[in-house]
Amino acid sequence: MKLSINFVKDYVDIDVDIKTLAEDMTRVGNEYDSAGKLINATKLVIGEIIECVEHPDSDHLHLCKVNTGTEVLNIVCGAPNARTGLKVIVAQDGAELPELTIKKGMIRGQESNGMLCSLAELGLEQKFLRPEDKEGIAELGEDAVIGEDPIKYLGMDDGVIDFELTANRGDLLSILGMAYEIGAIYDKSVKEIDLSHKENGEDINNSFSVEVKTENCKMFLAKKAENVIIKESPEFIKNRLIASGIRPINNVVDISNYVMLELGQPLHFYDADRLGNKIVVRMAERNEKLTTLDEIERELTDTDIVIADSTHGVGLAGVMGGLETEVEETTKNVLIEAAIFDSVKVRLTSKKILRSEASNRFEKGLDPKRTYMAIERACTLLEKYADATIVTGTVIYDGTNKQDKQIDVTFQNINDVLGTVIPNEEILNVFRKLGFTYTVNGETVTVTVPTRRLDISIKEDLIEEVSRIYGVDNIEGKLPVVPMRKGSYDKTQREIRNKMIALGLNETLSYILINDKEINGYTLDEIEPLKLLDPITEDRNTLRYSMIPSLYKIYEYNRAREQKDVSIFEIGKGFYKKGDVYGEDTKLCALMSGKYSLGLNNIKNVDFYTIKGIVEEVLDYLGYAGRYSFIKEEMPKEMHPGQSAYINVNGTNIGIIGKLHPSVSNEDVYVFEINLDELLEKKVGKMKYKEISKFPSIKKDIAFVVDKNIISKDIERTIKSAGGSLLTEIEVFDVYTGSNVADDKKSIAYSLTFIDNKKTLTDEEVNALMDKVMDNVCKKFNAEIRK
């Protein structure tokens, strides 16, 4: 909402500068975007061209001698309308205009000591410029006094504050509402509005009627103004519209906008001669068509409110009038509509067609008392500035409640909620400043809230008013006095993240929205895509199920920037719908590619075992040691079939690990994803001390040469059962293929640890167990001992 200071001064006295006003309004809850002069230019003066000749070296420049009252300046001017005797706006040496600074200088060899200005050069927005304003310098009237301030002469010495109002303060979308608010801050009373005008002839109700067929129209008032003379508006109306951001058109159209700005009530003017003698307000029929005044034929739906005559629609209520009954240069008689329509319906229609100053006001809600004021005010102005004759009477349909609200609140209520000890008189003073009346009955104040304050309906609203006007800055902060207790939180996720970070991975924050084509990736689960009804881009139109596509995007982003060593992880959500139930799982996902530091100077290229080590490290850390395995089953097609597996804990697959399939990435990229909700459901045992054996352990190393397709897990199982209870640890320490080993074979070396908690083991005992181990493994896997 752009507030014209000149406009609001009609209704309240303001003694502070514009910046202070803007700051003070902000402190009571009305934030501003900008505050400044309508025309931001310095060193301007009214001058008269006393001589105007052609520039000798130019086909369009003029050499002007301009009298500014105190001196005669030589100014070179290119405007085609520069001529002797014209009163002009002179920007003197050193003048600061919005786009440029004026300096004395030479133009094609001729001295120029200033500039003659057009309105465009003074910073007036394009949409407010008439064709003549764009073509040449501004032509001031004969009555302009040489040497005086041209901005003042034009009536444009106004200040504008652009407010960003909150959605509940529809009342501030009017000059009068602003006047009440400013009055409350500075304790000033608001001045009366002039609604006086004459009425003539037979009552309008005898010749015109309104029928309201929908409850979405709460109020509909109509009056008639006859014999209007359409012309340009007076300067003050035009300037105030411009300051408020509305383009002046002609006096009649401008008056409807002027009253809307002044009172917050949108009006609609119809060309009465092209309208029948009856208006019907109803919901549109499905597929009903209406051409709006922007000359577009609209197809309507049953949520649009339509203004119709007895046969067909003539306007879209609250949003846009129809072309057919538009006020034009030739219009003689005007039917004035002041109405209240349902805010939700207007919002729906305006969202489809046009969000305007008017629709915005309907959406925020209107004060029915203002509706009556506005239609009278329009008559006052039409009589005064369009020479209209106002027809006697008003056609009234009114289904509104105009009762002022009465709300009880106690002084205690107010001080309790605010945590203050504001004296009773000060509280009452706030209500008085706001223009609310009240009665005090012991501890209780009954406040009568005027209908203009649609936002106030419960005592908490009144408490807010007290805090606003009393000033939140005057309230001292303290801390709640409540029983002490410890706060709590589940640290597991944080522990997992810290572990991953300690393992050298970077934590990311990825987007959860992906393309629906990616939704079936990295899983064999049946997935119903959760697509957005209204995505911003098709690239991000679906909620992810697996996090891997999100992390892969991050990998691609980095690779495109020559960052190939990427080891990242994230805990985030994956979303699903199972049957009718929507849900989300917390997942831990990691992606690794390129070089990875295993600590000290041990830097290697990431392979399957690197990322598997990370998974094992995390699972061991969480207490799942010995309870998980990696299982090869049918894998999703995005995974390398020979280098991927499911992560299985206690018999359930809780995640996936492996290399990305070459069809996904040409680079060696490894990922894993664990469903943390599923994993953490599985209980772990308590961390507990185990007796350390007093007896020494014996370590034995052994290497088997086996077929390449034999998997280590199976050999380990055989070793374990052969080794019995004295075999406490089996560790793979080398896997070898190459010279001395046949092409279809590999060598796997194990380090076995034997220990007896009751006595010192002898070599004979251990050797006997080792013989059994070798024997069993060799038989079962057709293995040979590698010497």
């Binding site: 902060g477 303290k478 409540v482 970070i501 924050l509 987007y511 959860i512 929205l513």
Partner: protein, 349 residues
């Protein structure tokens, strides 16, 4: 014999002082003190001495032996010292060469801010709670006093997947869940941080962003008031943004609180004088807060006549940007490794 012993002593001491290494020194030891050594031989000849002479010569021999042993030990110690010195010198390295480091991973700046906030509020007795990101219209809006058709819903253009389900536009949804889940209707002190989503994407708005929400509900007689909210947020802002920050409570409007406030902090870049960061106003908006609206209490099972409290919320992305001087919101979500690597150390306290 006496002369002979003195002679042995002198020649032994001279030989000792002339030795250049440990091995020669050992030879000297054997030569004089060994089983067949010169001094030992003298002792062997003692039998021929008279009873008066024997103790005199005996003590002289002992004295000489002690002297020689002493000299030998001293010399040996010297050689050992020299040898050790040589070893140490040989082992000396260039300590200015870099250490062999283990690579550190890094924690995302937004998560760092979340942890800092959670720790602060846990220390004040708040519980950290979580809620779903795929929310229902009921919890995201309706139970927060935002019925369908409410104009304030426009402030939060949303990603719906059905008429009922949407990605939550605000962590406030967790307010309703926490109140409703608390069956005893006992006091609540909770904090909830997480991802939120709105249908907007430009230089200053990401369609996905972080929010944190706090809620305190207590019995009316304990009077959890606006002043308490102010005090709590002063602690919050001063911890997160800086000790010298000033706060400004600006009345505002949120459907779920009444009264409602937006909280500005004095611009930490210019100190309030006005700069590009604060758009020349001297203030930066950081929080939304207020006293819980009676309708919200009612709709979530708390009697507004018996309970009251406050709620607050703020955007995490901007806090992270302020804290680490990150100039562009988009850096937080691009996850450039060179960006992430910078957040690999402990935050200062």
């Amino acid at each position: 014999m006496k002369e002979e012993i003195i002679k042995i002593k002198e020649s032994a001491l001279e030989e000792i002082s002339n030795t250049q290494d440990l091995k020669t020194l050992n030879d000297v030891r054997v030569k004089y003190l060994g089983k067949k050594g010169e001094l030992t031989s003298v002792l062997r000849g003692m039998g021929a001495l008279s009873a008066e002479e024997r103790p005199v010569i005996g003590s002289l021999v002992n004295e000489v032996r002690a002297k020689i042993e002493n000299a030998l030990n001293e010399k040996e110690e010297k050689f050992k010292q020299a040898e050790l010195q040589e070893k140490l010198e040989k082992e000396t390295i260039d300590i200015t060469l870099p250490g062999a480091k283990i690579k550190r991973g890094s924690k995302h700046p937004v998560n760092r801010v979340i942890e800092e906030i959670e720790d602060l509020f846990v220390s004040m007795g708040y519980d950290v709670v979580a809620g779903p990101e795929l929310e229902t219209d009921e919890f995201c809006f309706e139970r927060l006093n935002l019925p369908k058709g409410h104009p304030a819903r426009d402030m939060q253009d949303s990603f719906y997947i059905t008429n009922e389900y949407l990605l939550r536009t605000q962590t406030s949804a967790v307010q309703a869940r926490t109140m409703l889940a608390n069956e005893e209707k006992s006091p609540i002190r909770m904090i909830c941080a997480g991802k939120t989503y709105r249908r907007e994407d430009d230089a200053t708005h990401s369609h996905q962003f972080g929010q944190v929400e706090g809620l305190v509900i207590d019995k009316k007689e304990r009077n959890v008031s606006l002043a308490d909210l102010k005090g709590t947020l002063e602690i919050f802002v001063k911890k997160l943004i800086g000790k010298n920050c000033e706060l400004r409570f600006r009345p505002s409007y949120f459907p779920f609180t009444e009264p409602s406030y937006e909280v500005d902090v004095s611009c930490f870049k210019c100190g309030g004088k006005g700069c590009s960061l604060c758009k020349q106003t001297g203030w930066i908006e950081v929080l939304g807060a207020g006293i819980v609206h009676p309708n919200v209490l009612k709709m979530n099972g708390y009697d507004p006549e018996k309970y009251g409290g406050f709620a607050f919320g703020t955007g995490l992305d901007r806090l992270a940007m302020f804290k680490y001087a990150i100039p562009d919101m988009r850096y937080l979500y691009a996850n450039d490794i060179r960006f992430l690597n910078q957040f690999d150390r402990k935050d200062e306290e």
